[in-house]
Amino acid sequence: MSPETAAPAAPPRFAAAVANPKVMQRSLTLNEKLFLGPFLKSLAYTFSRMFKKDVTRRYPEQKMEVTPTLHGVPVLVMKDDGSPRCVACGLCEFVCPPRAIDITPGETDRPIEREPKEFVIDMLRCIECSYCEEVCPEEAIVMSSDYEVVGRRREDFVWNLKKLLKPVEALKARIEWIRKTYKRWDGAADLAPPEGGVYRDPRWAGKSKPAEHH
C-alpha cells in the first residue's frame, strides 16, 4: 500500500478467505432417488458387520491394558520404614487445580525439616491430571494405576495419609516413567535420587537432627 497516493485498490473480496476452496456439492443420483438399491446396499453393509470381529471390550471381565503412562489416582510413596517420603512442602497442594489436596505439616524427629501430620486427597475432586506428581521435588506422590475408585459414601472418597501410603515396590514402573519423562530434554543428566528418597545434606551426616536455627 503506497503512502502517497489515495486509497489503495480494494483487494479481491475477502482477503481472509482462501483463494481456491474446495466446493462441496452433492445431489442424489437417480438410483439414490429411487432409494431401493442404496437402501439394500447399506443394509447389507450393516448386516455384514454382524459377522466381523467386534470391537467391544466387555468391561469388567476384560479390562484395558495398564501401562506406566496411565494416570490412576495419586498415592504417596512409603519408605521401607513405613514413613512417607513426603516432606509436606506444599507444592502439590498449591498446584492441584481442583484443590483436592489438603496437607497439615508438622514437626518431626526424623532428620528432615517437616513431615505431613495429615495428608488428605479428596478423590471426588481429583482429576488425575498428574500435576502433583510433576511438581513433587521428593518423588513422594506418584500416580498409581488404580483408576477404579469406588465407595458408598462421599467420605469413602476422601483418602487420608494411611490410605494413601503405598510401598515403593508397587509404584516402580511409574517411578521409572517419571524419571525418564521428566528428564525433559536429551542431555540432561540422569540423576536418580539417593536411596531413601530424601536428599541428605552431607553436613548432617552422622547427626540425628539438623543444626539448631537461632
Binding site: 475477502f14 481472509a16 478467505a17 482462501v18 481456491n20 476452496p21 474446495k22 466446493v23 462441496m24 456439492q25 452433492r26 442424489l28 443420483t29 439414490e32 432417488k33 432409494f35 442404496p38 446396499k41 447399506s42 453393509y45 450393516t46 470391537v55 484395558m64 501401562t67 503412562t69 496411565l70 494416570h71 512442602c89 507444592l91 498449591f94 498446584v95 487445580p97 481442583p98 482429576i127 488425575e128 491430571c129 498428574s130 500435576y131 510433576e134 511438581v135 521435588p137 521428593e138 518423588e139 500416580m143 517419571i178 524419571r179 519423562t181 521428566y182 528428564k183 525433559r184 530434554w185 536429551d186 540432561a188 543428566a189 540422569d190 540423576l191 536418580a192 535420587p193 539417593p194 536428599y199
Partner: protein
C-alpha cells in the same frame, strides 16, 4: 421466568402472512408453548429452547443458555497459568487438547516463549486429532438425531481407537492436561507414531463407510437438504465461524487466514458449501475429516526431531533428577510453580477449533494469575444462528439444525 406468551395468543393475533396450513383462518388454533430442554437428549448438552409452535411450525424460538456455566473466567483470576489448562480442556470437551493449544499459544505469545519445532509439530498433530474427535462425535450424534443409529456406533468405534492413542501418549483418554507452557508434557515415542500412522492410513476408508450410510441416503437428504438455511451475509453478521460459515460459501479458515503452528507448511484444502443448509454443513465436515487425515499423514511422516519442551529454566520446570539433588533447580521448581509471572500486557489469540474461531483474550497485570480471561467461544456465537435458521421450519427440523450446528454447551457456557 419470561414467558413467550403474555396473554393467550389466538390465530387472529398472528401476522396475516403466517401460513396456517389446512383449515386456514377458519380453524381456531392456539400456539403451543413448549420448553425443549434443558434435559433433552437431542439438544447437545444442556440447552433450553423455549418454543412457540403453531402445530408443528416454529413461530418463536428463544434459546436459553447458561445451565453449564462454571465460572471459568472468574476462576482464571485465581489460578496460575498452568492450572488454567485444566479448565480449557473442559471447554469443548470433545476436543480437549485443541483448547489447550489455544491457551498455550496465547500465554507463550504474552511471555515471549517459543516452543521448539517438535513440540509445535506434536501440537499440530493433536489439534488435528482433536478436530477428528469432535467431528466424529458430530457425525455419530448427527446420525442418531436424524435416525441413523448405527452411524453412532461406527463413529464412536473410531473415537475409541483415538482415545487409546491419547491414552498411550498422555495417560488419559480425555481431558488430557498434556500441554505445558513451552511445549508438551511428554514425548511421542516411535511406536506410538507408528500406531498413529496406521490409524490415519485406515481412517479414510472409515469415512467412506460413513458416507455410504448417509451421503447418498434419500432419507438423510430429505431431513437435511434445505433445512436451516442461512446466507453468507447473515452468517458473517451473526459472527458465525468454522464449518457453519464455510457451508455458506465463505472460505474463511483461521488455519489459512491467521495461521499458527505448522499450518503454513502443510497442504490441505478448505472445503466450502454452496447453500448454507444442514446438508452442506454435513458435507463440509465430512470433507474436513478427510483433510485432517491428509494433514496428519504429512505431519507424522515429517516429525522433526529434538526437544519437546523449551530448554528454558525460567519458564519451564527443570529436569526432575536435578530437582531431587541440586539446590538451584529446586528453587527454580518452586518459583516456576508458584510464582511464574508473565509480563504485563494483553493478547488475543484465536485458533480454528472444530466449531469455529476459539479465541482467548488474556489480560495480564504481571501477576502469577491472569487479570482477565475472556474466552471467545464459537459455540456461544454460532448458537445465535439457531434463531434465523429455525423460524418457520418444523419442530423436527430443530433437531436436525441443532445437530448440524454442533455447538457444545461446555464451550458455550464456559
Amino acid at each position: 421466568m419470561s414467558s413467550l406468551t403474555e396473554k393467550l395468543v389466538t390465530v387472529s393475533d398472528l401476522p396475516p402472512q403466517h401460513d396456517y396450513g389446512a383449515g386456514g383462518r377458519d380453524l381456531h388454533a392456539e400456539p403451543m408453548e413448549i420448553s425443549m430442554g434443558p434435559q433433552h437428549p437431542a439438544t447437545h448438552g444442556v440447552l433450553q429452547c423455549k418454543l412457540l409452535l403453531d402445530g408443528e411450525k416454529v413461530i418463536k424460538i428463544d434459546p436459553v443458555v447458561g445451565y453449564l456455566h462454571r465460572g471459568k473466567e472468574k476462576h482464571a483470576e485465581q489460578m496460575t497459568y498452568q492450572q488454567f489448562f485444566t479448565l480449557t480442556d473442559r471447554l469443548d470437551y470433545l476436543q480437549p487438547l485443541a483448547n489447550e493449544v489455544g491457551w498455550a499459544l496465547c500465554v507463550e505469545k504474552l511471555a515471549g516463549i517459543e516452543a521448539p519445532p517438535r513440540a509445535q509439530a506434536i501440537r499440530t498433530i493433536l489439534c488435528e486429532f482433536m478436530r477428528l474427535s469432535a467431528h466424529l462425535v458430530w457425525a455419530g450424534i448427527g446420525g442418531v438425531d436424524t435416525g441413523a443409529v448405527s452411524m453412532f456406533m461406527y463413529a464412536f468405534r473410531d473415537r475409541e481407537a483415538l482415545f487409546d492413542l491419547m491414552d498411550e501418549l498422555t495417560g488419559l483418554r480425555t481431558n488430557q492436561e498434556y500441554l505445558r507452557i513451552g511445549g508438551v508434557g511428554a514425548d511421542l515415542t516411535p511406536e506410538l507414531v507408528a500406531k498413529m500412522r496406521k490409524w490415519v492410513a485406515d481412517f479414510p476408508a472409515h469415512v467412506d463407510e460413513f458416507e455410504l450410510l448417509l451421503t447418498g441416503n434419500r432419507i438423510f437428504h430429505e431431513r437435511m437438504r434445505g433445512v436451516g438455511q442461512i446466507t453468507a451475509q447473515q452468517a458473517i453478521d451473526l459472527g458465525v465461524t468454522g464449518p457453519c460459515l464455510r457451508a455458506t460459501g465463505v472460505g474463511v479458515d483461521l488455519r489459512r487466514a491467521r495461521p499458527y503452528l505448522l499450518y503454513p507448511q502443510l497442504e490441505f484444502d478448505v472445503p466450502v458449501g454452496t447453500r448454507g443448509d444442514a446438508f452442506d454443513r454435513y458435507l463440509v465436515r465430512i470433507e474436513e475429516m478427510r483433510q485432517s487425515a491428509k494433514i496428519l499423514a504429512q505431519l507424522l511422516d515429517h516429525l522433526p526431531a529434538g526437544d519437546w519442551i523449551a530448554k528454558d529454566f525460567k519458564n519451564v520446570l527443570p529436569p526432575k533428577g536435578r530437582v531431587y539433588t541440586s539446590m538451584e533447580e529446586m528453587i527454580h521448581q518452586f518459583k516456576t510453580v508458584t510464582e511464574w509471572c508473565p509480563p504485563k500486557g494483553e493478547v488475543y489469540l484465536a485458533t480454528e477449533a472444530a466449531n469455529g474461531e476459539l479465541g482467548y483474550y488474556l489480560m495480564s497485570a504481571g501477576a502469577s494469575h491472569p487479570y482477565r480471561v475472556k474466552i471467545r467461544s464459537p459455540s456461544f456465537i454460532n448458537l445465535q444462528a439457531l434463531k434465523p435458521m429455525t423460524l418457520g421450519s418444523y419442530f423436527s427440523d430443530i433437531v436436525a439444525i441443532i445437530a448440524s450446528l454442533h455447538f457444545i454447551m461446555g464451550e458455550c457456557d464456559r
